[in-house]
């Protein structure tokens, strides 16, 4: 199958600092791709570039024949590439239902069909249906993370970019969110999942891309990557005396 997303030699400089250097990889449709690396490796920067919220210094991101780096974030969302935020960013004065409605009405679907019905279905799927009338300002961290996912799902993405959806969650909540990611993949959405929690990545990912210092370190199946000496070194450091 041809790749759904092609990240092609993406480079990003912040002033003189290279946050990303020639990062290249393909994402095939229907999988969960993990993007891991130590703090400061450039994972979120890369995610922001794919989502159109940040312009790269060089390179291209091809999605269905469109170069996403030429689009702004609303353009990317409208063609089906949607991101979540590491720190949830709800529209606080809107109810949970209305928050999800924003994704539904302005994302790829553009509000076709019965908005309330569809919104409630999505809320049920992420386990937030009970809170639909609540103001989003009063949600717990776990529920805010669910709301982030629900809003993105409402935009009917073909590629969902997840930025550390498990950070700040309890073990139990993380498990539920990871199950949800698997469920989203089963319904045909490709997921690119940024995380620095290795355990979460190993549990759900079909393929893992490892980054360090703004470059792609390696790429492969979760078990391969886990045992790769270069990856262990990037995360833990060299053994003493070598």
């Amino acid at each position: 199958m041809p790749p759904i997303l092609q990240v092609d030699r993406i480079t990003k400089f912040f002033a003189g600092l290279a946050a990303l250097k020639d990062v290249t990889f393909d994402v095939e449709p229907g999988g969960i791709y993990g993007l891991i690396g130590p703090n400061g490796a450039g994972k979120t920067t890369l995610l922001s570039i794919i989502a159109g919220s940040l312009r790269p210094t060089g390179g291209a991101v091809m999605f269905e024949g469109i170069d996403l780096t030429k689009k702004r974030s609303f353009g990317a969302a409208q063609v089906g590439v949607v991101r979540t935020h590491q720190i949830p960013r709800p529209f606080k004065s809107l109810s949970v239902l209305e928050n999800v409605e924003v994704g539904l009405r302005f994302g790829r679907g553009r509000g076709a069909g019965n908005a309330v019905h569809e919104t409630m279905q999505i809320l049920e799927r992420v386990g937030l249906a009970h809170a639909y009338r609540q103001s989003s300002a009063r949600l717990s961290v776990g529920d805010l993370k669910r709301l982030e996912l629900a809003r993105c799902l409402a935009a009917r993405p073909s590629v969902l970019l997840c930025d550390e959806v498990c950070s700040g969650l309890t073990e139990l909540e993380s498990g539920q969110v990871l199950d949800l990611l698997c469920d989203i993949r089963r319904s045909g959405t490709t997921i690119l999942y940024v995380e620095h929690n290795l355990k979460a990545i190993m549990k759900v990912c079909d393929r893992v891309i490892v980054m360090n210092y703004g470059q792609k370190l390696t790429e492969g199946l979760p078990q391969q990557v886990q045992n790769d000496p270069a990856v262990i070194e990037a995360y833990i450091g060299k053994p003493a005396g070598k």
Partner: protein, 329 residues
């Protein structure tokens, strides 16, 4: 200004139960009927004038609230649209165009100007946008003071060949105010209204979900400008004389914003209530404290933002719910 106020939560969510349920739907119609029937009570010309001016203020305030309240883009520059609407209408009427068409032209010119202003200024966010609107407003006033073909600083007179009937102007003002409120209600319930609030709450997050923040703001700006321009036109025809220091005054731009804040920014009825409060007390305050009226309004503004950011509407909602709770017990 935006975090504390319970603005944007759909009116239905805060509505009371029982008979009170019908109040939100019926109240506007009752108010409209009262205003329409008011001339039957034979009010004096000064009362009619005051009400007429207040109705034009309602249209402006509601128009400003589309951008400043729903979308959170605080502009000090709406005097530009008021003035342009006034001048366009004045020139059109003197050119022989029927008044209703002249008001439309005033609205159209104001909306067009809003696009010219919005294209560069909406690249700025938050307070930077606000500051830019101050600059634009002052620049337009200075230019208009020096344009020779509208009389420059000495102003411009409208000559109409019809008899002046005050009550006709009153009804024009009432129609415009009703139109403004109608637009505001429709916008708030629409997909566009959802985009406005999403952009206000978090522009980047809204964009990540497919909302184009730039066109959303431009459209809200244009709608607000059109209503403000029409209000300028309606007022100009009534006054029959306008000058740049009057219609382009910076204080007009501040007053428009003040009204929404007094009444309850980001709500449908807040700007209406604010316009009435401001319109009815402004003249008295200016008459009694000619030197200190700006100080008084400034103090009022600070007090509202500090103690009741949701304005008169927020305060009355609180009192109303206290009243309901008392009744239950």
């Amino acid at each position: 200004m935006e975090q504390d106020a319970p603005v944007g939560v759909r009116e239905a969510d805060t509505a009371a139960s029982g008979v009170w349920r019908f109040v939100p739907a019926l109240a506007p119609l009752v108010v409209l009927a009262v205003f329409a029937a008011l001339p039957l009570a034979n009010p004096g010309p000064n009362t009619v004038r005051l009400l007429f001016v207040t109705l034009t203020l309602v249209a402006m305030s509601v128009g400003w609230n589309l951008l400043g309240g729903f979308c959170g883009q605080v502009s000090f520059g709406f005097a530009v649209f008021y003035g342009l609407g006034a001048y366009t209408t004045a020139l059109s009427i003197n050119g022989g165009i029927p008044p209703m068409l002249a008001f439309l032209l005033g609205a159209a010119v104001a909306a067009f100007a809003s696009l010219l202003i919005g294209l560069p200024t909406f690249r700025l966010k938050g307070p930077y946008f606000t500051i830019a609107t101050i600059g634009v407003s002052e620049a337009v006033r200075v230019v208009m003071t020096n344009v020779p073909w509208t009389g420059g600083a000495s102003g411009y007179r409208i000559v109409e060949k019809v008899r002046f009937v005050q009550i006709h102007h009153y009804y024009t003002g009432l129609a415009l105010a009703a139109l403004a409120v109608g637009i505001s209600i429709l916008v708030r319930r629409s997909k566009f209204g959802l985009a406005l609030i999403a952009v206000r709450e978090d522009q980047d997050a809204a964009s990540d979900l497919g909302v184009n923040p730039f066109t959303t703001k431009l459209l809200a700006h244009a709608l607000g400008a059109a209503l403000t321009g029409a209000a300028g036109g309606v007022y100009a025809r009534y006054a029959a004389f306008i000058d740049p220091e009057g219609v382009f005054a910076f204080s007009t731009g501040v007053a428009i914003l003040l009204m929404s804040i007094i009444g309850g920014i980001g709500t449908i009825w807040g700007p209406v209530i604010g316009a009435f409060v401001y319109g009815l007390i402004h003249e008295e305050v200016v008459a009694y404290f000619p030197q200190a009226h700006l100080l008084i309004f400034g103090t009022l503004l600070i007090l509202i933002i500090l103690f009741e950011p949701a304005g008169v509407l927020g305060l009355s909602k609180k009192l109303f719910s206290v009243f309901l709770r008392r009744k239950k017990n």
